[in-house]
Subunit: 568 residues, 2 copies
């Protein structure tokens, strides 16, 4: 079989303007960026406001394993199959971060014959949106440190006279805004900045990956440009010495940050290998951020297409939970059906003793690991959604194992369970899945969120831990308790929660496979994201800046003699 | 008068495809990015190889002052005027850095009625090239620190076994590659990275502004994609414990860095307010970098247009010197004529005692400051070029002062001296300048560089100091002497020199106005830029990361109710 990038390059593409027109965009509602990408202009939103919405399909998965579950492959394959069935369909996906692209994966545009193309554009800069988030985020950090520097250097009185700006009296011990970088860069996890003469004050700081920036969440959750401007104004950067919040608005940097993100708020239109439209927009991770593509892209897609396919990152405990409790709350667009992606090898690795050769036939291990699927099935059904289980087939998978899993999944409450071969066969390999989804969409959905933030943060955390993860409860560190008090004092106690935790387990502990029981979720830190509109809770040891491994993905990437990118 | 951004927004633009076609690009030699920008594909280069070259006009200036000399306004105004005279003209300019845009200037796209449009696109992301440089640069830093981390953590033997990669044995005391950010961020000038458990080794480091990244110079000086790939491979990142160089090639990151910059190597086509083509490409500063737009853009423009207007940053001691001694050497394209921009107020501030009201009539101060212009005139003529002096007129400038300066400049050796009112009147205000340039281009030019790098670095530095700045000589710090030895040992002694110094004085000392004498240039540090192909010499106290001032430019920038960017 050809490599992903070879398939991407060899497949003829529709001119993107044709894709835009077929989706129903007028000529002045998008502008092309070459012949493979287009930026959708937000002036389309008011025109579409009164259109009815299409059906909304959210793709999720069991807990991921190092073997890869193929959730994005399945999302794209489903989109391709619906398109092949002549349905008006649009996928809404996140833009990949360059961190994992150069770190582990080498790409995140689907794979095989289920891809968004050109994959090398999707995987690298695309139209620069992530760069814009990085730049706007870091402008706020530079502005905050500079203001602190000048007020200390000159003293409040002289600063006021010289600048005409009222001193902010920033507390150097309470700086909340770090910097970001769209790379896996371990050495930046913990840094000291402001060293050297005239560069201070010296202070500890950190970099997170851009995908975990609150600004990335702001981009993904904003309803329009003015909403984004307001949210950016609310970003909490520091406290002053009287304990009052210093926001981006107060620092006077919110307008410039918005200007930097002026183009980023426009979703990027691309296409699948068979020419179905895909809106790519925003790229928050689902473990350390809220893990879903943008509300604006969904809004456009739902008003223009009859079927919209999107996905939440990682398992249903992560991106799907945040989809339901954070994104739907902000967008008002509840899903109509869920697709739960699973692989035989993933379930086998959730067995108490996973087989050494994870690809080999092992019905016992499969049956033991099946509990993880059942947990996710029940988890998704708790939200009132019918669930189609999609088994992403690998070549070694046997009919016997597949057949067992299909009947077991249906017996466990799946509306349907079908084998998907989108990776190997593209649209043709996902026709069964598409038909199952179409059938399932005829069932009524009665979406309900897991918790009601109005009950307060403490209650939301407890419900999430107990119902969302099956934990015995939640415990807050001393620091987190203090932060909870502060958040309550700031009047932000009724915001939804964004848990940052490992995606490898339903619990906070990556070593607990299958369906863990009798664990307590330790919340080490709470962070108010007043602009994004949620409180991040760090559960367990979770890093907001990944590192490069021993054999990082970048080693294989290069340009060839014709100047094409290879090795992605 | 309207603000720059109002003028930019109110002026009708030609569709960029029409601009591309009028320049002579075939439909498959560019792709549009919206209707205002286009990326020029490098496949155009072989087609044009045998075309004759147009005339090459380089715009420079006297030493800048805080009042602004209007070099870019004059470059664009000249381009507009030549276009209005129905000449086939193209401007080649640098992309502005967001650092100064948010720090001081609020924009660098020209101004008034001499602008590249849309100015807010030029001033912010454009097509993401600077972001790509930032990203590729920082990938190398992350890769270097990660490799160091893993080799120390595992030990050489275990690292080799686990990764299959031969250990590099990086010397943690000799890491040469810092990180970059496209912002003015004082707090990042000196930092400690790698702090905290498992993130190390902890070490001192720094960030420079992206405009000073060696990769930016690589982008600007590469002849094509494969040349860029080779140059990136040569980037010197560190030494190993045996004193051997560790390059990006050796670290295995050069291919991925090139992939990140795959789109950045394509120049961006824009237009002036009156529809003349402009190629925007690369953005090195002229004080802390080599200060000129790209060789690739020049090559395309010279083969397609009869007149190409470009500029080197700051005064003729900075960007113009580097244009002649670094860029022309790499490109082989010598200029045919120079335009030297001056303002009355700039000369007055070079008087020994500048007037308090710099805009007021003061013939004495003008006559005293005139020496600075004479110095630059002689400096440019030393390179064998005829010089047109362009007086960028401000509203308060009197006819008497202008007339005195015109005759004095011609008496001092200018081929011509004309008043330009491009800021207020666009093309019409620069017609006289354009005609003077056309006349001057009929004179023969006999370009010669200032020094021959083959004589060795020590000799090049001495010639640059003595002939290039009129210094009594050059003195190397102990550190610089040591570095000179190392550079000689690495066989890089015959590279040209890129001086990093203040642009505010011909000397290294910003307080020395007019024409300083009897000073010695102190070289504090020498840095081999093996990829860019020059040695950077830090003269005096020069910062490679600017800081935000007390009232930074970002304060005024916002979006308005219609979503337009304002305040640039």
């Amino acid at each position: 079989m050809l490599s992903d990038i070879e398939i991407s390059r060899q497949t003829p593409r529709r001119p993107i303007a044709e894709v835009a027109q077929s989706l129903g965009l007028a000529a002045d509602e998008y502008h092309t960026v070459g012949d493979a990408k287009a930026k959708v202009q937000l002036q389309v939103l008011p025109r579409l406001a009164s259109n009815p919405c299409g059906k909304f399909i959210v793709v999720t998965a069991v807990n991921p394993t190092p073997h890869g579950e193929g959730k994005t492959v399945t999302s794209i394959g489903l989109t391709q199959a619906l398109h092949a069935l002549n349905k008006r369909v649009c996928a809404c996906l996140r833009q990949p971060s360059m961190g994992p692209v150069f770190g582990v994966k080498g790409g995140a545009a689907g794979g095989g014959y289920a891809q968004v193309v050109p994959m090398e554009e999707l995987n690298l800069h695309l139209t620069g949106d992530i760069h814009a988030v990085t730049s706007a985020h870091n402008l706020a950090a530079a502005a905050l440190d500079a203001r602190l520097h000048h007020e200390i250097r000159l003293g409040a009185e002289a600063f006021w006279q010289q600048s005409g700006l009222r001193p902010l009296n920033i507390d150097p011990e309470r700086l909340l805004w770090s910097r970001v970088m769209d790379h896996n860069d371990r050495a930046l996890r913990q840094v000291t900045v402001g060293q050297g003469r005239n560069n201070g004050p010296e202070h500890s700081s950190s970099f997170t990956i851009t995908a975990a920036s609150e600004l990335m969440a702001v981009l993904a959750l904003s309803r329009d440009l003015q909403d984004m401007r307001q949210r950016i104004g609310k970003l909490l950067l520091a406290f002053d010495k009287d304990g009052q919040p210093i926001t981006a608005e107060k620092l006077g940097v919110a307008g410039a940050m918005t200007a930097i993100m002026r183009q980023a708020i426009e979703p990027t239109l691309m296409q699948t290998l068979n020419g179905a439209p895909c809106l790519i927009h925003a790229g928050p991770f689902a473990n350390i951020a809220h893990g879903n593509s943008s509300i604006i892209a969904d809004e456009i897609a739902l008003k223009l297409a009859d079927y919209v396919v999107t996905e939440g990152g990682f398992g249903s405990d992560m991106g799907f939970e945040k989809f339901c409790n954070i994104k739907v709350r902000a967008s008002g667009h509840a899903p109509d059906c869920a697709v739960l992606v699973v692989t035989l090898r993933a379930l086998k690795s959730h067995a108490p003793k996973p087989p050494e050769d994870i690809g080999a036939v092992d019905l016992l291990a499969l049956q033991q690991g099946f509990a993880n699927l059942v947990w996710h099935l029940n988890n998704v059904r708790r939200y009132g959604l019918p669930v189609v289980v999609a088994i992403n087939r690998f070549p070694q998978d046997t009919e016997q194992e597949l057949a067992w899993l299909q009947q077991a999944a249906i017996a466990a409450g799946a509306a349907d369970c079908v084998v998907s071969e989108a990776f190997s066969h593209g649209a043709a390999g996902a026709l069964g899945l598409a038909q199952a989804v179409l059938r399932t969409l005829q069932q009524p959905a009665a979406f309900q969120p897991l918790y009601h933030p109005e009950a307060g943060l403490r209650a939301s955390l407890a419900t999430l831990a107990e119902l969302g993860y099956g934990a015995a409860g939640v415990s807050l560190s001393t620091q987190a308790q203090q932060q909870l008090l502060e958040i309550q004092q700031l009047g932000a106690d009724q915001l939804p929660v964004c848990i940052a935790k490992t995606p490898m387990s339903i619990s906070h502990d990556p070593s607990l496979k299958g369906v863990p029981h009798d664990f307590v979720i330790p919340i080490n830190e709470l962070k108010l994201n007043a602009g994004a509109g949620f409180v991040t809770a760090l559960a367990g040891n979770v890093m907001t800046m990944p590192g490069l491994g021993v054999t990082p993905g970048y080693l294989h990437i290069d340009i060839d003699a014709e100047g094409n990118i290879c090795g992605l």
